[in-house]
Amino acid sequence: MPTPEAENEGLQPLAQIDRVIHEPARLAILGLLSGLVSADFLFVQNQTGLTGGNLSSHMTRLEEAGYVEVTKEFVDRIPRTLLRATKKGRAALRQYKQSLLRILSSLPG
């Protein structure tokens, strides 16, 4: 019969999951940016369906974690504020995916 300690060990990966990415809005943002080279604020807002303020606050959180970066560049001589996923952000997303798949595959049902 499994001991309570052995049962709880199985739930530790859940507790260790990356909470920065685990939030649905931030997962959508990072997932979108990982599939692109870069995008501006309006494109990310349209694709994720978030409001401007909501998107700003989630972007700040992702920037603090080092998962996205914000740069100002000229595209066709027009200044644009571009968002892009960093290497760290892409790696974190891959790790998050693997962790979640592992956890979900061990669940009953």
């Binding site: 997932g31 979108l32 990982s34 599939g35 692109l36 080279v37 870069s38 995008a39 501006d40 604020f41 309006l42 494109f43 990310v44 807002q45 349209n46 694709q47 401007g52 700003s56 595209v75 066709d76 027009i78 644009r80 504020t81 571009l82 891959r94 995916k97 693997q98 798949l101 592992r102 595959s105 061990s106």
Partner: protein, 213 residues
């Protein structure tokens, strides 16, 4: 329990990426650009009596004009409405197919130039060229359909394949070329314009409230 091997590591990326590519292609501008390009080439290699003026200059300028028009439309109408995104480079398959298309169309134009100077290729050359163009053109558009998830690219692929095969039945090569390039060009152009106007109606320009900080 190990992660199931059947789950492709890029499957989620493909769906998210496909949504973004679809958003960037629903405006129909790619169709407009390709359609105009094909029409320029069709008018150059088609029957001379259809066009009164010398198409050589237009055929050379055509691709440049087409790219400029596409960029201008995107910058002026698309990016202010849905935002700007830079997609990842096309898959190797699409790049190879597009390069093959350019090579074949380039070969066709060069052949037409030499034919105009009296150096005609063997009779079997054009049927094989038509078949090659049908496969390459249809293949590229089908790959674009897969990448974007937009059904109209599959339709364009079918139109190109059918036009190319139908042109094999036409005796006069110049008319066959006109059908093979002109019909898909026209279909692409018309589809592109329709998609463009639908896009403008679906995405009204947001008010200038600093949507792009």
């Amino acid at each position: 329990m190990p992660v199931p091997e059947s789950v492709s590591p890029d499957r989620t990326d493909l769906d998210v990426g496909r949504r973004a590519y679809r958003a960037l292609n629903e405006d129909g501008i790619v169709d407009i650009a390709l359609g105009l390009g094909l029409l320029f080439v069709a008018l150059y290699v088609g029957p001379r009596h259809l066009v009164r003026w010398n198409m050589t200059g237009w055929s050379a300028l055509g691709p440049i004009l087409v790219v400029l028009v596409a960029r201008g439309l995107r910058t002026r109408f698309v990016y202010p409405r849905i935002g700007y995104a830079q997609i990842r480079p096309a898959s190797p398959a699409i790049i190879m197919m597009a390069a093959l298309n350019l090579l074949l169309v380039g070969g066709l134009v060069v052949t037409a130039i030499y034919a105009g100077r009296g150096t005609r290729p063997p009779a079997s050359f054009f049927p094989w060229l038509f078949r090659a163009l049908a496969l390459a053109g249809a293949g590229t558009l089908a790959l674009m359909g897969r990448r974007t998830g937009l059904v109209r690219f599959y339709v364009h692929a079918a139109v190109i394949a059918v036009a190319a095969l139908a042109s094999l039945a036409i005796r006069k090569t110049s008319y066959g070329l006109l059908l093979m390039l002109g019909l898909p060009g026209l279909v692409l152009l018309v589809t592109g314009l329709v998609c463009f106007f639908i896009f403008l109606r679906r995405h009204p320009k947001p008010e200038a409230t600093g949507a792009n900080p």
